[in-house]
C-alpha cells in the first residue's frame, strides 16, 4: 500500500486506508448482519414480549450515546483531513477528542447495563439476552477502536512516521463502530 507508485495514487480513485482493514470492516459488518437477522427472526416470533421488554430501555441514554459516537466519528474524520493537510498537532488533538467520545460512550453504556441489571432485566429475558450480547460485542469493538486511536496518536507524535494511510485506516474502523451502533440503536431502542 505504502510502496505504490505515487503517480498512480489519484486521490479520487484509491481506496482510503489499508485494504486489510477493509476486509475486517466488511467481514465484521457481515457478522453483525447475521446477528441482526437472527434478532429480527426471534423478534417476529415473540413480538409482544420484545415490545414489552423494549419499553424498559432508556431512549434518552440511547440518543445521547448516538450523538456522542456520531460527533466522535466526525471529529476523527476532521483529524484525517488535518493529517492530509500536514497539520499533525491539530490532528493529534482531534484524535484524542474522538477517543474521549469513545470513553464517554463506554461509561454511559456501563451505567445503562448496571441500571438494567439492578432493575432485574437479566439475560433470562430473550430480548435482554440479545441486548447484552450484541451491545457487549459492540462495546468490545469500541474498546478495540480506542486501542486503534491510541496507536494512531503514537504514530502522529512520531515525526518519522505520520503516514496518512494509517490515519485513514484508524478512521475507517472508527466509522464502522459508529455505523454499527446506529443500526443497533434503531433495532433495539426505536423500532416499534
Amino acid at each position: 500500500m505504502t510502496q505504490t507508485d505515487p503517480a498512480t495514487q489519484l486521490e479520487s480513485t484509491t481506496l482510503p486506508g489499508d485494504i486489510n482493514m477493509w476486509v475486517m470492516v466488511l467481514g465484521d459488518m457481515v457478522i453483525f448482519a447475521g446477528y441482526f437477522v437472527i434478532f429480527m427472526i426471534y423478534r417476529s416470533m415473540n413480538r409482544q414480549e420484545f415490545l414489552h421488554a423494549q419499553q424498559h430501555l432508556n431512549i434518552a441514554i440511547g440518543v445521547t450515546n448516538t450523538v456522542i459516537l456520531l460527533t466522535s466519528s466526525w471529529v476523527v474524520a476532521l483529524a484525517v483531513q488535518a493529517v492530509r493537510a500536514g497539520e499533525f498537532e491539530k490532528s493529534t488533538r482531534l484524535v484524542l477528542a474522538g477517543g474521549v467520545g469513545g470513553i464517554a460512550f463506554m461509561v454511559l453504556k456501563g451505567y445503562e447495563w448496571a441500571s438494567k441489571i439492578a432493575a432485574g432485566h437479566t439475560n433470562s429475558e430473550t430480548f435482554y439476552s440479545f441486548y447484552y450480547v450484541i451491545t457487549g460485542v459492540h462495546l468490545l469493538h469500541v474498546l478495540i477502536g480506542l486501542i486503534v486511536l491510541g496507536v494512531l496518536v503514537r504514530e502522529l507524535r512520531n515525526p518519522a512516521k505520520r503516514r496518512p494511510w494509517m490515519a485513514e485506516t484508524g478512521a475507517t474502523y472508527w466509522h464502522m463502530v459508529d455505523l454499527l451502533w446506529v443500526i443497533i440503536f434503531a433495532l433495539f431502542y426505536v423500532m416499534r
Binding site: 510502496q3 505504490t4 507508485d5 489499508d18 485494504i19 486489510n20 482493514m21 476486509v23 475486517m24 467481514g27 465484521d28 457478522i31 447475521g34 446477528y35 437472527i38 427472526i41 426471534y42 439475560n123 430473550t126 439476552s129 440479545f130 450480547v133 460485542v137 468490545l140 478495540i144
Partner: protein, 247 residues
C-alpha cells in the same frame, strides 16, 4: 516490491519451501478433514444434538449412535496428537516472524490447553456413555451435557491463542501472514466468548445448538480455518529452501 517483475517472483513462489514444512502443510488439511468426518459423520457432535431433551432422550441418542461414537472417538483418541502437530506448524511459521518466539509458544500453549476441554473431555464423556449403556439415565444425561458444554462452550483457552496470533501478525515485519488474517482471528475470539452463553440457555439462539452461539461461530471458524490452510501453503512456498533452521 515494485521493482520485482512477475518473472522474478514466480520461481520462488512455486519451487520454494522446505520439504519437511511442505509435508506438515499437507498434513494440516488432511488432519482437519479426518477430524471433520469424525465429529460430523461418526460421533454426531456437529451439528450438535439438542440440549432441550429429557434424560430418556439423551440415553436414546447414545443407544442410536453408540457404534459410530465408539469408532469415531476411539480413533480420535489416537489421532488427537495430530492437533498438536497442526498447531506446531502454525507455531513454526510464527517463529519466522520478526516478533520473537514468545508469541509462537503462547499460541502453542493456548491451543494445547484448549484442546483438553475442546476435544478430549467430550471424547471421554461420550465414550464412557456409549460403552456403559446400562448406567443410570441421569448419569448418562450428565455425560451428554458435560461433553457438549465442554466441547462447544469452554473454548476460552483458544481465544487467548487467537489473541497472541493476531498480535504477532500485526507486529510482524516479515509478512509471514497478511494483516487481514489477524482481524479474522479477532472475530474468532468474539464468537468463542459468546459461546459461553450456552451454559445459561437450554434453548434459543444462545444454546449449544443456537443460531448465534453455535452456527454463526461455526461459519466464522470455517472461514478462519480455510484461510489458514491457504496462508500456510503460501508461507511455506515463500520460505527460501536454503533458509537456516530455526532455533
Amino acid at each position: 516490491m515494485s521493482v520485482l517483475t512477475p518473472e522474478q517472483v514466480s520461481p520462488t513462489a512455486t519451487d520454494g519451501g522446505k520439504r519437511d514444512v511442505w509435508w506438515m502443510t499437507w498434513f494440516f488439511p488432511a488432519w482437519y478433514g479426518v477430524f471433520g468426518v469424525i465429529i460430523c459423520l461418526l460421533t454426531r457432535v456437529t451439528p450438535p444434538p439438542r440440549p432441550d431433551v429429557t434424560a430418556a432422550g439423551k440415553v436414546a441418542f447414545f443407544a442410536q449412535h453408540h457404534l459410530t461414537i465408539q469408532i469415531g472417538f476411539t480413533v480420535l483418541l489416537v489421532l488427537l496428537g495430530g492437533a498438536a502437530m497442526t498447531n506446531g506448524l502454525v507455531a513454526y511459521q510464527m517463529k519466522r516472524m520478526s516478533v520473537g518466539s514468545a508469541f509462537a509458544y503462547g499460541y502453542l500453549g493456548g491451543m494445547s490447553v484448549g484442546a483438553i476441554p475442546g476435544f478430549l473431555l467430550v471424547t471421554v464423556c461420550f465414550l464412557t456413555a456409549a460403552f456403559r449403556p446400562d448406567r443410570n439415565p441421569e448419569l448418562t444425561s450428565l455425560l451428554y451435557d458435560l461433553g457438549m458444554l465442554s466441547y462447544n462452550g469452554s473454548l476460552g483457552c483458544f481465544s487467548v491463542a487467537y489473541l497472541v496470533l493476531a498480535i504477532a501478525i500485526l507486529y510482524d515485519r516479515n509478512e509471514i501472514f497478511p494483516k487481514w488474517f489477524a482481524y479474522i482471528s479477532i472475530w474468532q475470539i468474539v464468537t468463542e466468548v459468546i459461546a459461553t452463553q450456552m451454559f445459561v440457555f437450554g434453548s434459543g439462539p444462545f444454546a449449544w445448538n443456537g443460531s448465534i452461539a453455535f452456527w454463526l461461530a461455526v461459519v466464522v471458524f470455517s472461514v478462519w480455518l480455510g484461510a489458514l490452510i491457504v496462508l500456510l501453503r503460501r508461507a511455506a512456498a515463500a520460505e527460501p529452501v536454503d533458509a537456516p533452521a530455526l532455533d
